[in-house]
């Protein structure tokens, strides 16, 4: 009986996860194989028809939206790394008001996406019509994504930085290593796991970008910001009887993100560093 107690403790959370994650994923996969209308309830087996349509039909925007999403994701990852890590290092070095800086930078992460999107919609309008041009609209959205995600990732980096023993830096300093070499040979290698975590989470969240597109551009101009989550939304909720097709798009998105993350995990696989 005692052996069962831990399982009983985790049972409620496990049940919630099963019902709201895995069962709904299963329903979504089943829907992707059918012509499915969520409200009318009628369903007809479509086999791989929805996947075929997403991948090969002339009027499918899967590839275009995947390309836009990938570009957005690349800009987000680079942007987050170039802002969150320096911010974390600066924050760590701040002797006074560190908590204040942490709070200020973290604030955008807890501000609702709709509010941020509305504020930036007007900022971009005043600053030179970034959303009016097909070349600048996607980078503008990525800028918003980086700005709103930098604070959260800064906190993660900050936690990683405080885990690095001071002895390493002191020893390096005695050996004559400058700031750059310390950063290159101590900070970066010992932050590897944090870096991988931040990159994986940024890729996953950027592949799901939706709110800013929906509020600010509706996929335009000229489909330059039509990302995959927006395409899924339009088909699922604005077009009658296309829930199956939208589910197929969602599963294709899952496959792409899975492959990306898998490759990334293999490339940046965790290694033991400097303690052998």
């Amino acid at each position: 009986m005692h052996g069962l107690v831990p399982y009983l403790y985790i049972a409620p959370a496990f049940a919630v996860t099963i019902v709201f994650s895995f069962v709904s994923m299963g329903i979504s996969f089943w829907a992707s194989l059918h012509h499915y209308d969520a409200f009318a309830g009628a369903a007809e087996f479509a086999g791989l028809g929805n996947y075929r349509r997403a991948l090969f039909a002339d009027d499918s925007y899967f590839w275009l939206s995947l390309k836009n999403t990938a570009i957005y994701s690349a800009m987000s990852v680079v942007g987050v790394l170039l802002t969150a890590l320096p911010l974390a290092i600066l924050c760590q070095k701040a002797r006074r008001y560190q908590a204040l800086f942490r709070t200020l930078y973290f604030l955008p992460s807890i501000t609702p996406g709709v509010v941020l999107a509305l504020v930036f919609y007007h900022i971009f309008g005043v600053w030179g019509q970034l959303l009016d041009n097909a070349w600048t609209s996607l980078p503008a959205l990525a800028l918003l994504g980086v700005w709103s995600g930098a604070g959260y990732n800064m906190v993660i980096f900050l936690a990683g930085l405080t885990e690095i023993p001071r002895d390493f830096y002191e020893a390096a300093e005695i050996d004559g290593a400058g700031r750059w070499h310390q950063f290159r040979h101590i900070t970066i290698p010992l932050l590897r796991n944090t870096l991988v975590f931040v990159m994986v989470m940024t890729i996953i969240s950027s592949f799901q970008v939706f709110t800013s597109v929906y509020i600010m551009t509706q996929g335009g101009p000229e489909r330059s910001t039509e990302v995959i989550a927006y395409t899924i939304f339009i088909n699922a909720f604005a077009v009658a009887g296309q829930m199956g097709y939208a589910s197929a798009l969602a599963w294709l998105l899952f496959a792409v993100v899975f492959v990306f993350v898998f490759i990334q995990m293999r490339v940046f696989r965790s290694r033991r560093i400097y303690d052998e």
Binding site: H35, D37, A38, F39, A40, G41, A42, E44, A57, D58, D59, Y121, H122, F124, G125, Q129, L131, D132, A134, T217, Q218, G219, G220, P221, E222, R223, E226, I234, F237, A238, V239, A240, G241, Q242
Partner: protein
């Protein structure tokens, strides 16, 4: 002592939870609790998106309808539920398969045909037949409505599923201050105005057919455009919004050129034919060749520019006057006309739509629901909407009332509204959101990159090729939608 406290506290908590659950935390329940009124036997659930939260006049309107209707029908209690327009379809579809569907709701033309094809609406033909003998002001049959209002409420087989409660039309909205100033030195602009009986110019009214054709429109907008020394437009003759809005503007220009967006059965797009290509090139030339428009800006709406008096003419709706007066703190020196005919058009035209009241298939008291619809869509209901909301009505007899004549005298911009509504073609109606998703980005590209496309160096080989591609994609939407309709029908027959 302590042993009794806990069970008592738990019991108290249980009672509180039960009361809250029963109440549904609604104001209606609290009101009922302290009300002396005898409960009415029929509760009629009515859904709408006209929200008092966004415009207090809607609150006044619903209060007036409820008060008048309930006084005339003591057995019915109306319960309004306001649902945001953006969530309407999802919430309604969920409610209709759930346990508390509305009995009656206002349906936009965007969704009405789809709701009918899904089998969610009750056909109204039998009720309309019974209503045919009612006195004219209470009659809600076809002959009581403007033909352009009675277009969206029936299926291809003639089944009527809704009764129009409003009529909307797109129109050209003119700034009369700008026109009057230009008229002082220009006979052609002076000729746009109506005349008083003594022959003098009536600067409050434009003639309904003031603009004779597209070339005339181009000339006038060129004359009304004022540029600074560096060439930037200080006062625009016309405004086109390329970002999504341009696609909406395409429909009335297409209608004015004798074209149709789609066929009546919803099986084929038609906007890529000669009339559509001409309409698209006309819009492109206004912006790029005639340069009568302010630069394309996503963040600045046409109406903002118009209200700032920076634009002489814009595309608006027949309903828009009251909003402009409110936003400009009282400025009402503007007028409305329909769209002048293009080379293939035969007269002034526009597109119209009439949002309607419908009864759900699961309505528990059809007779009460029908009484409500008859009241709201009667002459009395139209007059209430006009009085409180400033809306014109879809009924013919509405325009003969003293109230409407008085409204036109007080607000001269209403003078052409009936004629504009009368020349309206049916707005596109099949799977509008999905069709927009396919077509609007193409129109956006055509407007933004018109010179490149005309020169053959743009992302499309020509205007014609772009519209043909959009048409093909729209046809794909129609084909899939009709397949889905067949599946719904098959499922209903099985049940």
């Amino acid at each position: 002592m302590r042993s009794t406290r806990i069970p008592l506290a738990l019991l108290g908590l249980l009672v509180l939870v039960a009361v809250l659950l029963r109440a549904g935390l609604t104001r209606a329940f609290v009101d009922d609790l302290f009300s002396n009124e005898i409960p009415r036997p029929i509760q009629l659930r009515v859904w709408d998106w006209w929200s008092p939260a966004g415009n207090e006049e809607y609150g006044q309107y619903f209060d007036a309808i409820e008060k008048t209707f309930e006084a005339q029908n003591p057995d019915i209690d109306i319960v309004y539920q306001i649902v945001p327009f953006g969530n309407y379809v999802q919430k309604l579809s969920t409610a209709l398969v759930g346990s508390t569907p509305p009995d009656v709701f206002q349906s936009s033309v965007y969704w009405a045909e789809g709701f009918h094809q899904r089998g969610m609406l009750r056909p109204l033909d039998d009720l309309l037949a019974l209503n045919a003998a009612a006195p004219p002001p209470e009659r809600v049959t076809e002959e009581m409505f403007l033909p352009s209002a009675w277009q969206h409420n029936q299926a291809a087989d003639g089944t009527v599923f809704g009764v129009p409660q409003i009529i909307d039309a797109q129109c050209l909205l003119w700034n009369l201050d700008i026109l009057a100033e230009a008229a002082a030195a220009d006979e052609e602009i002076r000729a746009l105005f109506a005349r008083h009986e003594d022959g003098s110019i009536d600067y409050q009214h434009l003639r309904f057919d003031a603009v004779t054709d597209w070339e005339h429109f181009r000339r006038i907008t060129r004359k009304l455009t004022r540029r600074a020394a560096d060439g930037t437009v200080e006062q625009a003759g016309f405004v086109i919004n390329a970002y999504g809005g341009g696609a909406g503007m395409f429909s009335p220009w297409l209608a004015a050129n004798g074209g149709r967006y789609q066929d009546a059965a919803g099986t084929r797009a038609l906007f890529g034919e000669a009339a559509g290509i001409e309409a698209m090139r006309f819009m492109g030339r206004l912006y790029w060749q005639d340069k009568v428009c302010p630069p394309f800006r996503r963040q600045i709406s046409d109406s903002e520019l118009f209200q700032e008096r920076k634009v002489a003419c814009m595309v608006a709706g027949t309903w828009s006057g009251k909003d402009i007066i409110r936003n400009t703190l009282g400025w009402d020196h503007f007028a409305k006309t329909a769209f002048p005919p293009g080379p293939q058009g035969t007269g002034q035209k526009t597109v119209t739509w009439g949002n309607m009241l419908v009864v759900t298939r699961r309505c528990e008291n059809v007779e009460a629901a029908w009484r409500y619809i008859q009241f709201v869509c009667s002459l009395e209901g139209n007059m209430l909407r006009s009085k409180i909301l400033g809306y014109n009505g879809p009924r013919r007899d509405f325009y003969d009332t003293e109230q409407w004549q008085k409204a036109m005298a007080e607000r001269p911009y209403l003078s052409n509204v009936k004629q504009i509504c009368l020349v309206g073609d049916k707005l596109r109606h099949t799977e509008i959101i999905a069709v927009n998703h396919q077509v609007n980005p193409v129109i956006e590209t055509l407007l933004l990159r018109f010179p490149e496309i005309e020169a053959g160096t743009g992302p499309h080989a020509s205007v014609s090729a772009a519209l043909k591609e959009a048409e093909r994609n729209a046809n794909g939407v129609f084909r899939r939608y009709n397949e889905q309709v067949a599946r719904w029908l098959a499922a209903r027959e099985q049940n």
